[in-house]
Symmetry: C2
Subunit: 384 residues, 2 copies
């Protein structure tokens, strides 16, 4: 079942190069396919890739060649994007939490577009990036998402209207509204309410003589391969979102941007790992086999936290008799368990030294990895 | 209240050097004091510092000079210890999950002492490190610990006896027993049951003609400064543990080793961070002020997970009027919130650009930090 989820290109790389485990292998053609899929389903929107999902230079270069834009969280990410060859006009400084000196640096580098969600951030932008285009992030409920968002980001639409009004007074260009419906959002209808709210803000500001131009639809587009039962195809998101946009904005559609992270790279990556230990202790203490891998929570698989995302796993013995297992990483940390509550079953023949692949791990994997916890090196990424 | 918890040496460094935030500042004299405290309270035990808690070279060098030994989790950590000047006879390869090629490498480097908890690991050691000293980790309940351990490590004492018997047949030296009572263990009485179990294993094996020599008492020794209500002084641990040892082993005491990690370095470190944003949004969406710092879950403060460990915080406005806050890190990740459920209160005057210190962050901080999530650099460590 899982075999077809690893592309021939990745499989050939694993067979021919035999890279040391653990490592992440990304198929850039799948990234490109995801980019084109998003761009085609919402042809009037511009795609700003959320660099934090996977900042591998090869990914940024491929997207740059395709004409993509970039949502960045820090000076570090902006530097990566510029190094990949994209100009500053293709960059959004999308983090609502920025140091003033980093804003000033980005402004000097030519970045025009900045996010904010409170007055203090707006004032920083006004001082450090005079005349910049700013968009206000509003807070919406993220139901239906695997990783619903907290209240960390966003203000109420009412405050947003006040702040965007203030932005003009501060010499900035009040440019638009953004929101985020939650990561791995499987219900495209969740975009409707924040689009309605955004349209309301456009209207309220128009009455003050301020013409907003942009709706930033955020991320939330899902990876397709790690969710049991599947998720809607990307085309369905386009139809539902465009339906909301025309319903709430009429024919006078604003600029739209998307910020896919997971939806762009999740399916394109395979985590290649090795079985370090198979432990059948005794039934007095352990009901199941424990399989210890050389990748764990601290070097690639942090998204197993809470066991919400349950990756599909390929082993060399797929199809043979399987039994229940607990899966854990290689560190001495007792939190470094991947799946204990989840009911994973793996072949009884799985043995020390076998390599095993986790499917659709391209997002939030390598950059989350620790700098060297327990003395294990950060995860290496190969792009093929 | 918190002022006295930062040493003059660290304060002088912060004032004179004004290091860029965020960074971790370790006072090596406090590490030395913790080492001496542990060594004095259990003078017959050898202290093996658990390198994973903080692998800064300066810490390893100081402990090497003091005569310390090292509990290591990987080839990477062994290399760090050897580079600090300690010989391989002072190293325990204490992870029960090791690649056979790493065992072979350690054996060639002169490391003699290896942990295991199942037959497959024992067989790897027998093949890759013939003649090595091995100790078996047993599983005990970790009540009273802030971070109780999972079932990831350890077997039953009954299986341990079988495995140590098998060790001799495999040409290894069955050397001892280890256990771990859980991290930040505030109840020294928790050592009693596993010591009793260990003594039982010594006896059972003696009847087979195998004389074990070592009880590895593991870690669990607490940091003192971040727990409300305080924890017992280290001397109390020594008394209670020695009482258990003599009660269960009589006068024929085995070698003992301790593996403090948190107990050695937690109190010695201060995380120096800057306020990036103070957000008073409106009461429609947010009840409290949000304070955003340039350190968060992914660059130093991962142990705020679950908000179990509640660090004391020093601000430039301590003593002035305070109000409730939510504390969060700088990334675009909605999980990057430090304290939301916990009832933190900070001065109303706290402003963007102020520096703030987290107290007793010396353990499980820098090495856990991500390699660059959201484009933020890993945490820098300064040892003074």
């Amino acid at each position: 079942m899982t075999e077809t989820l690893i592309t021939d290109k990745i499989d050939r790389f694993l067979t021919e190069v035999r890279p040391e485990t653990p490592c992440l292998v990304m198929d850039l053609d799948l990234v490109e396919r995801a980019y084109r899929g998003l761009a085609e389903t919402l042809p009037t929107a511009r795609v700003f890739y959320a660099v934090k999902a996977n900042p591998a230079p090869e990914i940024l270069e491929r997207l740059t060649r395709l004409g993509g834009c970039f949502d960045t969280a820090s000076r570090g990410e902006i530097e990566l994007v510029l190094a990949a060859g994209a100009g500053p006009e293709r960059i959004s400084f999308g983090n609502t939490i920025k140091k003033e000196r980093d804003i000033a640096w980005a402004h000097a580098a030519g970045v025009r577009l900045y996010a904010f969600d409170c007055i203090a951030e707006l004032e920083k932008i006004a001082r450090a990036a005079p005349g910049a285009q700013v968009f206000c992030r509003i807070l919406v409920k993220g139901e239906g998402a695997k990783w619903p968002l907290s209240k960390k980001f966003g203000c109420s639409p009412e405050l947003g209207v006040e702040l965007l009004t203030r932005a003009r007074e501060l010499g900035l260009e009040p440019y638009g509204v953004s929101f985020h419906v939650g990561s791995q959002q499987t219900d495209a209808a969740q975009w409707d309410l924040p689009i309605e709210r955004s349209a309301g803000m456009f209207k309220a500001l128009a009455e003050k003589g301020i013409q907003l131009k942009l709706v930033n639809l955020g991320g939330g587009f899902p990876g397709h391969h790690y969710q049991a039962g599947g998720v809607p195809p990307v085309a369905a998101y386009g139809i539902t979102i465009m339906d909301s946009m025309t319903r709430h904005f009429g024919n006078d559609l604003p600029e739209m941007i998307l910020e896919p992270g997971r939806g762009m790279v999740a399916d394109a990556g395979v985590l290649h790992t090795e079985v370090v230990l198979v432990s059948n202790r005794d039934t007095r203490t352990h009901r199941r086999r424990w399989i210890y891998l050389d990748a764990g929570k601290f070097n690639g698989l942090i998204e197993t936290l809470g066991e919400v995302i349950q990756y599909k796993i390929r082993t060399p013995h797929d199809g043979k008799e399987a039994g229940p297992v607990v899966l854990a990483g290689p560190t001495c940390d007792s939190l470094d368990i991947l799946y204990e509550k989840a009911d994973y079953r793996l072949p009884l023949d799985l043995a020390i030294g076998d390599t095993v692949q986790f499917i659709a791990v391209g997002a939030y994997c390598s950059s989350y990895a620790s700098v060297g916890f327990n003395g294990f090196a950060p995860l290496k990424t190969y792009c093929v």
